[in-house]
């Protein structure tokens, strides 16, 4: 995806990241954040959560991956998220993005980001600033 190919209002192709327990376990081990609230449904429930939850930084990674699938080679200059509700492990998720601003001088694209849970409820909102090639 080149800057010249992007228009205000474009939707990024949505993605459906794998948030199964197997994937979350792999992630938390790699990220040195192997805590039971991420990997043990019963423990998480004992803490008042609806089940084991997807780490926020993993959700950010899914959103960044969506951007890179849309624009391979793009540089993400900023990724800013707000976490509104939990995303439960072993459910499903949908990542969406939309282009909301273009900076032609610097080939920067502003992207709205949302991540929805299995009920269609918005779990994460955010924005990214992405630098594209000419």
């Amino acid at each position: 995806m080149r800057f010249s190919e992007v228009e205000l209002g474009d939707d990024l192709p949505e993605t459906h990241p794998d948030i199964s327990m197997d994937k979350v376990r792999l992630f938390v081990k790699a990220a040195y954040m192997d805590f039971p609230r991420f990997t043990d449904h019963e423990f998480a429930k004992s803490e008042g959560l609806p089940g084991a939850i997807v780490p926020g930084v993993m959700s950010q990674g899914f959103l960044a991956a969506m951007i890179h699938q849309w624009a391979p080679g793009a540089k993400i200059r900023k990724l800013d998220t707000v976490f509104r509700t939990t995303m439960v492990v072993d459910t499903s998720a949908t990542c969406r993005g939309a282009v909301t601003d273009l900076d032609e001088d610097n080939r920067l694209v502003e992207v709205d980001l949302t991540m929805l849970n299995h009920e269609g409820v918005t779990s994460v909102i955010g924005t990214a600033t992405v630098e594209l090639a000419d």
């Binding site: 707000v82 939309a98 909301t100 709205d112 269609g120 909102i125 955010g126 924005t127």
Partner: protein, 208 residues
């Protein structure tokens, strides 16, 4: 005339939308909006001037506030200097009776938003603490509602005899216009908006 009565910009702590980006999004997407109201959390923005953007995009941009009370969040339209001194907009535990009374005394309109939402909605507090007097307008359509919340808001508003309005509660650009309010008369200023809300010459619309 259709206005989105509930939006947040980067001036809210959890807002990520620039006001000029809202404007260009509305025009690019040809949304059926004639304008919107910025309702920043726990503050009233009396410094920003959006008249150039209004002229550039042909949109009405008004300012209000979303304050927090012991009965949930409340939008306040028609904030003036007297009202900013009547209670502390930054507090998260204002007494809703104080907010409703102060708004009425100062010629403003205070209306609970997303009343069907657990914890921060008016009707959840009604269930726990009983109803209160002084409410006559609530946000029955909220663009951020979970499934079932707007339906509850509409049903409970009907049961209590409250009038309804709509707003997107957008915190990012692409969510503006998910819900809005249609007015019978032209709205050109915050005074027009307050008068129309007080008179009930409007209805909630949803565009999700």
């Amino acid at each position: 005339m259709i206005l989105d009565l509930h939006t947040h910009s980067v001036r809210s702590d959890d807002g990520r939308a620039k006001v000029d980006n809202y404007c260009q999004w509305i025009r690019k997407k040809e949304l059926p909006l004639d304008g919107f109201v910025l309702t920043e959390h726990r503050q009233y923005d009396d410094t920003s001037d959006y008249r150039d953007l209004e002229d550039q995009y042909g949109l009405l941009i008004l300012k209000a506030s979303e304050v927090e009370t012991d009965y949930g969040h409340v939008l306040v339209f028609g904030v003036n200097e007297e009202l900013t001194h009547a209670f502390d907009f930054a507090r998260v535990d204002n007494h809703i009776g104080d907010v409703l009374a102060a708004a009425r005394r100062c010629g403003a309109v205070a209306a609970p938003c997303h009343p069907g939402r657990p914890n921060v909605g008016l009707f959840a507090h009604f269930e726990r603490k009983g109803p209160i007097d002084g409410v006559d307008l609530v946000e029955i359509y909220n663009g951020g509602s979970r499934p079932g919340e707007d339906e509850m808001s509409e049903a409970e508003a009907d049961r209590f005899g409250y009038r309804g309005f709509g707003g997107s509660d957008s915190h990012i650009v692409s969510r503006i216009g998910y819900a809005a309010t249609e007015f019978d008369d032209p709205i050109r200023s915050i005074d027009d908006l307050v008068s129309a809300l007080q008179a009930g010459r409007c209805r909630a619309r949803t565009f999700r």
